[in-house]
Point group: C2
Chain length 206, copies 2
């Protein structure tokens, strides 16, 4: 680890495939970064298993009495865990709760999310299924900075994914996930290299 290495905290609620991709990209030196903590709201989430297997410290923050957000005091616990680990970038990798002031204020401009559609189309849950039901010919994936809106922050990278004849929502989802696994490390690499500049709600790649 070098002093310039970006320290990443990952938040996730699910299987953690995107987290695994980040862990591998860091290990291989493809991005000058290291995942220093993985935080989940789900105590048996696959993402925690993947982190433990690679000796990354984990923390469970929850359960919550809310379904789509955390109590401010719980969110503050996340902030403290991120700060204790000296995290410079927070990556949401399938984290199923909306962030609120404690985390958004503490890590303004340093939280990114990956979403399985070409935002602003199909924000929210099961975006691939929304797209498939709508009948689009093209959907995709988006990596964006996180703000108080739902999947509404400034776009860093997007890549289109065609809907094929014969696709089900699930085959489409699989194809989108492959794109996520390319786009998320690329966005982290750009962030780590200081190449992302926020101008209003537009992200300039330097």
């Amino acid at each position: 680890m070098t002093s310039s290495e970006l320290r990443i905290g990952v938040l996730g609620s699910g299987a953690g495939t995107n987290c695994e991709v980040i862990l591998l990209a860091c290990e291989r030196g493809e991005i000058p970064a290291r995942v220093v903590v993985v935080i989940s709201d789900v105590d048996n989430a696959g993402i925690l298993q993947r982190a433990r297997q690679r000796n990354v410290p984990v923390k469970i923050v929850g359960p919550s009495r809310f379904k789509t957000k955390l109590e401010p005091e719980l969110e503050q616990q996340i902030v403290e865990a991120l700060r204790a680990a000296d995290v410079g970038l927070v990556v949401l990798a399938g984290y199923m709760r909306v962030l609120k002031a404690p985390l958004l204020d503490a890590y303004a401009g340093r939280i990114i999310n990956v979403h399985p559609s070409l935002l602003p189309a199909f924000p929210g849950l099961r975006a691939w299924e929304q797209a498939w039901k709508y009948g689009v010919r093209v959907t995709g994936c988006t990596v964006h900075f996180v703000d108080a809106g739902i999947d509404a922050g400034p776009v860093i990278l997007q890549q289109p994914v065609p809907v094929m004849a014969g696709d089900t929502a699930e085959t489409l989802h699989q194809r989108i996930q492959l794109t996520e696994h390319k786009l998320l490390p690329e966005a982290i690499r750009l962030f780590a290299a200081g190449k992302l500049e926020l101008r209003g709600r537009q992200v300039k790649i330097l």
Copy 2:
């Protein structure tokens, strides 16, 4: 003209570049169709000039006391003009009014529109500018069947268009228009060949 030739009515309010593309594609035999009437709500619209230059009958229906729709009796005049010309497909090519019951009912499933974004993102006016201001990396164009919603009907074809570094809203618009000029004739060709099947809100290409 053969008996199987599709008879097209074009509605437009502006310069009529998409109408010109359709006229050319028909002339060249690229689509087995003929534009038999061009209708505008704007009496000096460029689209009327283009039609007259190619000896296509034109009709002006307006002015209207509304900005975004027509009075039912005016819309009924459009229906009558389309029927008098034995139109089988209505193409909206930059027509700036929302269609209502008279036309939607008379031509259900036989009205298509081209829109300069990947719907459902950026419906409404100046979609290229909306996309540019949002800061997306990918936008595009959509050809869709028209229903009572605003740019909300079943999608026939879509094509992504990347936003380039250095793009202005206008350079982006120009790039999208090139895609419109490919996608709209292709959609008409599929319709003329009977290859579009509407299933719920999904369009199957046979």
